[in-house]
């Protein structure tokens, strides 16, 4: 199997920084995610996970560290977590995800809790700056 390509996307006013790199073991979305067309941004990521899931690393640690995001992005985060859950269920590898939120940002905290319980995945929820 060919090496899985890497996704590196720089952050901008409306788009998050994204890193999906199997070799380095980095799976990251951070910054602002406000795309009007969330499929254009996250479609490729979901496809990437389809390929990745054929031969996942023994450990997959996904990180969400978002300042702002719109509801269309939230839905895509749910889809990514669903992929992670599938990988965990089918491959038996170690899969985990961490969601960072800012102190005082209750909406983000609440969204993380909702995601965890609706997808049924162990999502570690951490306040930024907390040990």
């Amino acid at each position: 199997m060919d090496t899985l390509r890497k996704i590196y996307r720089a952050k901008s006013d409306f788009y998050p920084r994204m890193v999906f790199d199997k070799e380095e073991g980095v799976f990251l979305i951070e910054g602002r995610s406000l795309p009007e067309d969330s499929e254009a941004v996250y479609g490729p990521v979901l496809e990437w996970f389809d390929e990745y899931s054929m031969q996942p690393n023994s450990e997959t640690k996904m990180v969400f560290n978002l300042e702002y995001y719109n509801s269309a992005s939230l839905r895509k985060f749910a889809d990514i977590l669903k992929k992670l859950k599938q990988i965990s269920d089918h491959s038996g590898t170690n899969v985990s995800a961490t969601w960072y939120y800012e102190d005082g940002d209750e909406s983000s905290l609440e969204n993380a809790e909702d995601l965890a319980s609706s997808i049924g995945i162990a999502l570690e929820i951490k306040m930024i700056g907390e040990a």
């Binding site: 409306f14 009007e36 702002y68 719109n70 939230l74 005082g104 940002d105």
Partner: protein
Amino acid sequence: MSDNTNSILYSELWADDLSFVYLGKFDNSVLGFATEILKGHISQTVESEGKKNKLSFLMIESFQNILRYGLAGRAAEMTSGEVFIVRKHKGSYYITTGNYVENVNIAPMREKLERVNSLSPEDLKKLFMMTLQNKKISKQGGAGLGFMEMVRKTKEKLDFDFVELDDERSFFYFQLRLKDNPEDDSPALPISSAKNIKKMMEQNGRFIALKGDFRQSAINPILSMAENNISEESLRTQRSLYHILVEMLQNIARHAAQTDDGRREGLFSMGYDGNAFVVSASNGIEPDSAQRLLEYVGKLNSMTREQLDDYYKRVLREGHDDATISSGLGLIDVARDSIGGIDCAVDSYGEVRILSMTAKL
């Protein structure tokens, strides 16, 4: 040549701590500017991070709703007159959008809105979770997740109205309220207020209005937004207009009576009246200063172009003969560029005097 747009707007926005009105074409760049302008203003208030994030979220969702539910194709002539308003009024933030929709889409939209409004917080949460799990995505890409999040974040029902325009189109008003204090049971600002504002802006050809604190930090994003709106004009017009804008905005910062908490409050509006670009700036002012400025602007208006040029050079060389009018160069400059001089008026609101100046280019 009297232009009373700002006076009319002031009477509607009088009790607001912050008002931002945008009327015109919508795209993501406008959202970028709007967020920057509002951030400049909101950062000077004492809102918590959580609240600022909530506000940003609500603004973005409302704005993207216009793009999502608006008319297909969105040709420029079909979208002029769409409106985006953010106000801080008596302890609540209000975000209001107004956009065209096709009549065939009204029934499903109304159904979604009424459904979200009718649910208890518990049922809303259930529906929200179900929507997150559901793989099917509605045609508009939102499936109401946006509306649900708006209700969950504001803990208020969604306010909306459809105004039928003809057989095919209607105008859709949509309003959110975010209270400082959840216990506040005062009645909400009615959507009719947004309708009034839209009407005033349209009748007077304005596309931006901003009321709030005009310290320097708040001015820069307004300039960027204005720049975007005049980018199709000749470079010469752009430069002159930009120049007038800077002077008028800084004039508010300079002359506005300072409030107890250090704010420099004013109202700024800009537009195109069919013949010329129009820029108006208003601010609270001490009665004595108001009188002096009125006289001073009268003096500038009575001068010929040559006299203004000479006067400009003299002030540049020797400073101003009236130190209370600061450097004074700004207004001379505006008077030189403005068609028919500077329109200047003072309105009284009880003890308060509001000075409004309008320049045309």
